[in-house]
Symmetry: C2
Subunit: 302 residues, 2 copies
């Protein structure tokens, strides 16, 4: 099993009540790849500018992450700047400089086309479909999107969703996409658009998954020090898809453990700026925290 | 085992996007008592006015709810009026007419003084302590409070909390009471004030419990039709304390099942106005939904 991820590789400038990080490594494909690489080989498709150097690439080295699809273009790398208040669930985007990302046309290297699992990061749904046209019958297609595409390109997004197995979005996006306030109704409407499995990310309130087997609820791990939530959603997706790829299963048991694995990885991500915590994370720590999730949620039947 | 509850018995006027109910039965002690009575005998201490008639009392009849402590005073019954938008987590209080409740002085009938479990509903912390002074060594004292008392009578509340075993409040109240934004830090600070167990109610996002054994997270049951959230918190408390009283246990296993039982009862409460759903609820439905909570949260270890 192997994973193809298409998404952004970026510089992030992040301000939280606890500190500031300038032009550190970010982007959906970066967080996703490092998280997923704990479980299965990852092939990254993205674009960076000439200002993206060897130091930044270090994050991906020594891991099973293939960078043959990381294009380098004339110009500057995508730069996102955001600010969080004490309520770390709400963030303010200070500025978004798309730079080379504006001209991104995903080109899938031949060696990637047989990936078993594909993750379509949050990019133009037209480009997401172009990725699918270049791959050969993946077993699982997982996908992210955001309000910008939900309102800006609803028709194109619908066409993409028809080809998606698992959609990972947050609860506000689910309400917007479905036009339903109630989350159970929203889930039913979205699953009717194509994705058999819908994973709703609710930040500190955890995750709700809707699949053929009904619903599954998982909490976020209660952390004493949440330092920077940037990338938590993409890290969740990396742990989720990575775990699925590692098992080769797509049944309910595998999906549920994948949700917990995603939540586990995300809980580490937020402990530091950028990918700092993920990059020094050991697999044994991952497994330990997975077990803590079991203790956190277990109760005896009556 | 038997339960003593002190709190409000009220008329509620509630407007939701789905309809309006005028002067229907409400109040913390009403919801609590009916929920708890599924599990153990309940003795209710509260006050109503002359306008509170036999029809309203019907709700409590045919259940193990002792009304010897429900005082009747000259004047009108407490009346609360509220309005919900589609976001059922946020409500607006239109008006609060305390009426006879303003002069409420809880008097515990002799026959109640040996209750094993006491629930101090959300009233003045001075009155909560007066209740404790009238009872004989209860096994478990559980307590609710709100922002009004947290900011209005912080010293008195602190004195009450020293005598409380289990505090049940919402996450915003926990942040306010502790002065900590982070919920894990807030929980530690509050547990240092007295309550060994803290149960944080997060509405549609479920419950977090902090006890000597660490933390426990339970989701809310994902409902397709949430009709009226009024009373859900008190119903949760009734199911929680009721279940604890029925087992006689206070260990972690009992506490966790009590959280799920509280969540189960609350999930029925919100399906209709006032106590309507609780009053036609059968015990078999309670047990069925408890089992659904197990299915909702279960995952296999890795």
């Amino acid at each position: 099993m192997s994973i193809l991820v298409v998404g952004s590789v970026a510089y992030d400038t992040v301000e939280t009540p606890f500190g500031k990080a300038e032009r550190v490594l970010g982007g959906s494909a970066s967080f996703f790849s490092v998280a997923a690489s704990f479980f299965a080989p990852v092939s990254l498709v993205g674009v960076v500018g000439r200002d993206f150097g060897e130091a930044q690439l270090q994050a991906f080295h020594g891991r099973d992450i293939n960078l043959a699809g990381l294009e380098r273009m004339d110009g500057e790398t995508f730069h996102w700047q955001g600010r969080y208040s004490y309520d770390l669930n709400a963030r303010e985007t200070v500025c978004t400089e798309l730079n080379v990302f504006e001209f991104f046309e995903p080109k899938i290297p031949a060696q990637y086309r047989r990936s078993s699992h594909v993750f379509l990061g949050n990019i133009d749904p037209v480009l997401q479909r172009k990725v699918l046209e270049q791959v050969e019958r993946p077993r699982v297609v997982a996908c992210d999107t955001m309000n910008f595409w939900i309102t800006g390109k609803p028709e194109e997004l619908r066409k993409t969703l028809e080809r998606v197995d698992i959609l990972l979005i947050n609860d506000a996006e689910a309400r917007q996409l479905s036009g339903e306030w109630n989350i159970v109704k929203a889930a039913r409407a979205i699953r009717a658009m194509g994705p058999r499995t819908l994973v709703l990310k609710k930040g500190e309130h955890g995750v709700l998954m809707f699949s053929d087997h009904g619903s599954f609820a998982a909490p976020a791990y209660p952390l004493e020090d949440v330092f920077d939530p940037t990338g938590a959603g993409d890290t969740f997706a990396g742990g989720f898809v990575g775990y699925l790829a590692s098992t080769g299963g797509e049944g309910e048991d595998a999906l549920r453990r994948a949700v917990i694995m995603g939540s586990t990885l995300a809980s580490f991500c937020v402990e530091a700026f950028s990918l700092d915590r993920l990059l020094r994370l050991r697999r044994s720590e991952v497994d330990d925290r997975f077990r803590l999730f079991k203790r956190l949620t277990h109760f005896e039947a009556i």
